[in-house]
Symmetry: C2
Subunit: 99 residues, 2 copies
Amino acid sequence: MQPALTLLSALAEPTRLAAVRLLWDGREHCVCELVRVLGVTQSRMSRHMAVLKQAGVVVDRRDAQWVRYRRNPELPAEQAAIIDAVLNSLNTSSDRRAA
Amino acid sequence: MQPALTLLSALAEPTRLAAVRLLWDGREHCVCELVRVLGVTQSRMSRHMAVLKQAGVVVDRRDAQWVRYRRNPELPAEQAAIIDAVLNSLNTSSDRRAA
DNA sequence: CACGCATATGCGCATGAGCGTAAATAGATC
DNA sequence: GATCTATTTACGCTCATGCGCATATGCGTG
Protein backbone atom coordinates (compact mmCIF):
# COMPACT_ATOMS: atom_id res chain seq x y z
CA MET A 1 0.00 0.00 0.00
CA GLN A 2 1.06 3.54 -0.60
CA PRO A 3 2.66 5.15 2.42
CA ALA A 4 0.11 7.93 2.42
CA LEU A 5 -2.78 5.48 2.50
CA THR A 6 -1.16 3.46 5.24
CA LEU A 7 -0.72 6.60 7.27
CA LEU A 8 -4.28 7.77 6.71
CA SER A 9 -5.68 4.41 7.71
CA ALA A 10 -3.57 4.38 10.82
CA LEU A 11 -4.80 7.81 11.84
CA ALA A 12 -8.44 7.23 10.98
CA GLU A 13 -9.29 5.60 14.28
CA PRO A 14 -10.18 7.55 17.43
CA THR A 15 -7.93 5.74 19.90
CA ARG A 16 -4.95 5.79 17.60
CA LEU A 17 -5.39 9.42 16.75
CA ALA A 18 -5.62 10.25 20.44
CA ALA A 19 -2.47 8.26 21.09
CA VAL A 20 -0.63 10.10 18.35
CA ARG A 21 -1.72 13.35 19.85
CA LEU A 22 -0.29 12.32 23.19
CA LEU A 23 2.94 11.06 21.70
CA TRP A 24 3.37 14.23 19.74
CA ASP A 25 4.57 15.98 22.85
CA GLY A 26 7.90 14.46 21.87
CA ARG A 27 8.27 12.39 24.99
CA GLU A 28 8.07 8.70 25.62
CA HIS A 29 4.93 7.08 26.95
CA CYS A 30 4.49 3.52 28.14
CA VAL A 31 1.45 1.51 27.13
CA CYS A 32 0.13 1.49 30.67
CA GLU A 33 0.04 5.26 30.68
CA LEU A 34 -1.83 5.40 27.40
CA VAL A 35 -4.25 2.84 28.77
CA ARG A 36 -4.92 4.99 31.82
CA VAL A 37 -5.23 8.26 29.96
CA LEU A 38 -7.30 6.99 27.05
CA GLY A 39 -9.44 4.60 29.03
CA VAL A 40 -9.15 1.59 26.78
CA THR A 41 -8.25 -1.97 27.57
CA GLN A 42 -4.64 -2.95 27.67
CA SER A 43 -4.81 -5.43 24.83
CA ARG A 44 -6.61 -2.95 22.59
CA MET A 45 -4.01 -0.32 23.26
CA SER A 46 -1.24 -2.73 22.47
CA ARG A 47 -2.79 -3.60 19.15
CA HIS A 48 -3.43 -0.01 18.21
CA MET A 49 0.16 0.88 18.97
CA ALA A 50 1.29 -2.00 16.80
CA VAL A 51 -0.68 -0.51 13.93
CA LEU A 52 0.92 2.87 14.44
CA LYS A 53 4.33 1.27 14.67
CA GLN A 54 3.80 -0.68 11.50
CA ALA A 55 2.73 2.48 9.74
CA GLY A 56 5.99 4.06 10.77
CA VAL A 57 4.33 6.68 12.91
CA VAL A 58 5.91 5.65 16.18
CA VAL A 59 8.81 3.60 17.44
CA ASP A 60 9.05 1.59 20.60
CA ARG A 61 11.76 0.71 23.05
CA ARG A 62 11.96 -1.91 25.76
CA ASP A 63 12.71 -0.45 29.16
CA ALA A 64 12.54 -3.06 31.87
CA GLN A 65 8.93 -4.20 32.12
CA TRP A 66 7.75 -1.30 30.07
CA VAL A 67 7.59 -0.59 26.40
CA ARG A 68 8.04 3.07 25.73
CA TYR A 69 6.52 4.51 22.59
CA ARG A 70 7.49 7.76 21.01
CA ARG A 71 7.14 9.64 17.77
CA ASN A 72 9.26 8.10 15.04
CA PRO A 73 12.17 10.52 14.59
CA GLU A 74 12.77 9.06 11.13
CA LEU A 75 9.30 9.95 9.95
CA PRO A 76 9.56 11.50 6.47
CA ALA A 77 8.83 15.19 6.43
CA GLU A 78 5.86 14.86 4.09
CA GLN A 79 4.21 12.41 6.46
CA ALA A 80 5.02 14.48 9.49
CA ALA A 81 3.35 17.37 7.72
CA ILE A 82 0.18 15.33 7.37
CA ILE A 83 0.13 14.49 11.05
CA ASP A 84 0.84 18.07 12.02
CA ALA A 85 -2.04 19.24 9.86
CA VAL A 86 -4.35 16.69 11.42
CA LEU A 87 -3.39 17.56 14.97
CA ASN A 88 -3.67 21.22 14.19
CA SER A 89 -7.20 20.68 12.94
CA LEU A 90 -8.05 18.97 16.20
CA ASN A 91 -6.91 21.96 18.18
CA THR A 92 -8.51 24.47 15.89
CA SER A 93 -11.79 23.12 14.71
CA SER A 94 -15.02 22.40 16.48
CA ASP A 95 -13.83 19.09 17.83
CA ARG A 96 -11.65 20.85 20.33
CA ARG A 97 -13.67 19.18 23.08
CA ALA A 98 -11.75 15.97 22.51
CA ALA A 99 -8.54 17.57 23.74
CA MET B 1 -17.69 11.59 14.59
CA GLN B 2 -15.04 14.25 14.78
CA PRO B 3 -14.59 16.11 11.49
CA ALA B 4 -10.92 15.17 11.37
CA LEU B 5 -11.70 11.48 11.72
CA THR B 6 -14.42 11.67 9.11
CA LEU B 7 -12.00 13.31 6.74
CA LEU B 8 -9.25 10.80 7.40
CA SER B 9 -11.61 7.90 6.85
CA ALA B 10 -12.83 9.42 3.63
CA LEU B 11 -9.30 9.83 2.33
CA ALA B 12 -8.02 6.45 3.48
CA GLU B 13 -9.27 4.61 0.43
CA PRO B 14 -7.32 4.40 -2.84
CA THR B 15 -10.11 5.28 -5.23
CA ARG B 16 -11.35 8.16 -3.15
CA LEU B 17 -7.89 9.56 -2.66
CA ALA B 18 -7.28 9.34 -6.38
CA ALA B 19 -10.56 11.11 -7.02
CA VAL B 20 -9.65 13.88 -4.62
CA ARG B 21 -6.36 14.28 -6.38
CA LEU B 22 -8.16 14.70 -9.67
CA LEU B 23 -10.72 17.11 -8.26
CA TRP B 24 -8.01 19.17 -6.64
CA ASP B 25 -7.22 20.71 -10.00
CA GLY B 26 -10.07 23.04 -9.10
CA ARG B 27 -12.24 22.05 -12.02
CA GLU B 28 -15.45 20.10 -12.23
CA HIS B 29 -15.46 16.45 -13.19
CA CYS B 30 -18.44 14.28 -13.97
CA VAL B 31 -18.70 10.79 -12.56
CA CYS B 32 -18.33 9.24 -15.98
CA GLU B 33 -14.96 10.92 -16.38
CA LEU B 34 -13.76 9.67 -13.01
CA VAL B 35 -14.96 6.20 -13.95
CA ARG B 36 -12.94 6.29 -17.14
CA VAL B 37 -9.80 7.74 -15.64
CA LEU B 38 -9.74 5.66 -12.50
CA GLY B 39 -10.95 2.45 -14.08
CA VAL B 40 -13.61 1.55 -11.56
CA THR B 41 -17.23 0.58 -12.01
CA GLN B 42 -19.87 3.23 -12.20
CA SER B 43 -21.69 2.20 -9.08
CA ARG B 44 -18.50 2.08 -7.07
CA MET B 45 -17.51 5.53 -8.20
CA SER B 46 -20.90 6.89 -7.34
CA ARG B 47 -20.72 5.47 -3.86
CA HIS B 48 -17.22 6.70 -3.25
CA MET B 49 -18.18 10.18 -4.32
CA ALA B 50 -21.11 10.06 -1.95
CA VAL B 51 -18.69 9.33 0.88
CA LEU B 52 -16.52 12.26 -0.09
CA LYS B 53 -19.55 14.46 -0.38
CA GLN B 54 -20.82 13.43 3.03
CA ALA B 55 -17.41 14.15 4.51
CA GLY B 56 -17.65 17.64 3.10
CA VAL B 57 -14.68 17.19 0.83
CA VAL B 58 -16.55 17.74 -2.41
CA VAL B 59 -19.79 19.22 -3.64
CA ASP B 60 -21.87 18.18 -6.60
CA ARG B 61 -24.06 19.90 -9.11
CA ARG B 62 -26.62 18.58 -11.53
CA ASP B 63 -25.88 19.55 -15.09
CA ALA B 64 -28.28 17.91 -17.51
CA GLN B 65 -27.56 14.18 -17.44
CA TRP B 66 -24.35 14.71 -15.59
CA VAL B 67 -23.43 15.29 -12.01
CA ARG B 68 -20.38 17.46 -11.75
CA TYR B 69 -18.22 17.10 -8.69
CA ARG B 70 -15.71 19.63 -7.52
CA ARG B 71 -13.71 20.52 -4.47
CA ASN B 72 -15.89 21.97 -1.75
CA PRO B 73 -15.13 25.69 -1.73
CA GLU B 74 -16.48 25.90 1.82
CA LEU B 75 -13.99 23.40 3.13
CA PRO B 76 -12.53 24.70 6.40
CA ALA B 77 -8.92 25.79 6.10
CA GLU B 78 -7.67 23.25 8.65
CA GLN B 79 -9.19 20.43 6.66
CA ALA B 80 -7.94 21.80 3.37
CA ALA B 81 -4.49 21.86 4.93
CA ILE B 82 -4.76 18.16 5.69
CA ILE B 83 -5.70 17.34 2.12
CA ASP B 84 -2.97 19.54 0.76
CA ALA B 85 -0.43 17.79 2.95
CA VAL B 86 -1.67 14.40 1.81
CA LEU B 87 -1.59 15.29 -1.86
CA ASN B 88 1.80 16.82 -1.45
CA SER B 89 3.09 13.62 0.06
CA LEU B 90 1.77 11.73 -2.94
CA ASN B 91 3.75 13.90 -5.30
CA THR B 92 6.86 13.92 -3.19
CA SER B 93 7.32 10.53 -1.65
CA SER B 94 8.14 7.18 -3.11
CA ASP B 95 4.58 6.50 -4.18
CA ARG B 96 4.92 8.97 -6.99
CA ARG B 97 4.26 6.10 -9.39
CA ALA B 98 0.56 6.37 -8.64
CA ALA B 99 0.40 9.79 -10.27
C1' DC C 1 -43.93 8.39 -24.40
C1' DA C 2 -40.01 5.51 -25.88
C1' DC C 3 -35.26 5.41 -25.72
C1' DG C 4 -30.52 6.22 -24.33
C1' DC C 5 -27.01 8.05 -21.44
C1' DA C 6 -25.59 9.29 -16.70
C1' DT C 7 -26.06 8.53 -12.01
C1' DA C 8 -27.75 6.59 -7.78
C1' DT C 9 -29.38 2.82 -4.96
C1' DG C 10 -30.93 -1.87 -3.23
C1' DC C 11 -29.15 -6.36 -2.27
C1' DG C 12 -26.27 -9.98 -0.96
C1' DC C 13 -21.52 -11.34 -0.28
C1' DA C 14 -16.72 -11.30 1.28
C1' DT C 15 -13.35 -9.24 3.85
C1' DG C 16 -11.25 -6.42 7.20
C1' DA C 17 -11.16 -4.05 11.56
C1' DG C 18 -12.18 -3.34 16.21
C1' DC C 19 -13.51 -5.56 20.53
C1' DG C 20 -13.22 -8.53 24.97
C1' DT C 21 -11.48 -12.48 27.20
C1' DA C 22 -7.93 -15.34 28.14
C1' DA C 23 -3.49 -17.14 27.68
C1' DA C 24 1.42 -16.45 26.59
C1' DT C 25 5.75 -13.83 26.96
C1' DA C 26 9.07 -10.68 29.25
C1' DG C 27 11.40 -8.54 32.92
C1' DA C 28 12.04 -7.39 37.94
C1' DT C 29 12.09 -8.85 42.64
C1' DC C 30 12.13 -11.92 46.31
C1' DG D 1 11.92 -20.63 40.61
C1' DA D 2 7.62 -18.29 42.34
C1' DT D 3 5.37 -14.13 41.81
C1' DC D 4 4.09 -9.58 40.31
C1' DT D 5 3.64 -6.06 36.74
C1' DA D 6 3.72 -4.90 31.89
C1' DT D 7 2.92 -6.20 27.32
C1' DT D 8 1.80 -9.02 23.46
C1' DT D 9 -0.80 -12.45 21.10
C1' DA D 10 -4.34 -16.05 20.02
C1' DC D 11 -9.25 -16.76 19.48
C1' DG D 12 -13.82 -15.91 18.40
C1' DC D 13 -17.33 -12.48 17.71
C1' DT D 14 -19.57 -8.51 15.58
C1' DC D 15 -19.92 -4.73 12.71
C1' DA D 16 -18.41 -1.70 9.09
C1' DT D 17 -16.92 -1.35 4.45
C1' DG D 18 -15.88 -2.31 -0.22
C1' DC D 19 -17.51 -4.99 -4.13
C1' DG D 20 -20.44 -6.66 -8.24
C1' DC D 21 -24.76 -7.07 -10.13
C1' DA D 22 -29.07 -5.63 -11.04
C1' DT D 23 -32.41 -2.12 -10.84
C1' DA D 24 -34.24 2.44 -10.25
C1' DT D 25 -34.11 7.39 -11.20
C1' DG D 26 -33.12 11.69 -13.74
C1' DC D 27 -32.58 14.11 -17.86
C1' DG D 28 -32.35 15.02 -22.84
C1' DT D 29 -33.93 13.72 -27.56
C1' DG D 30 -36.67 12.07 -30.97
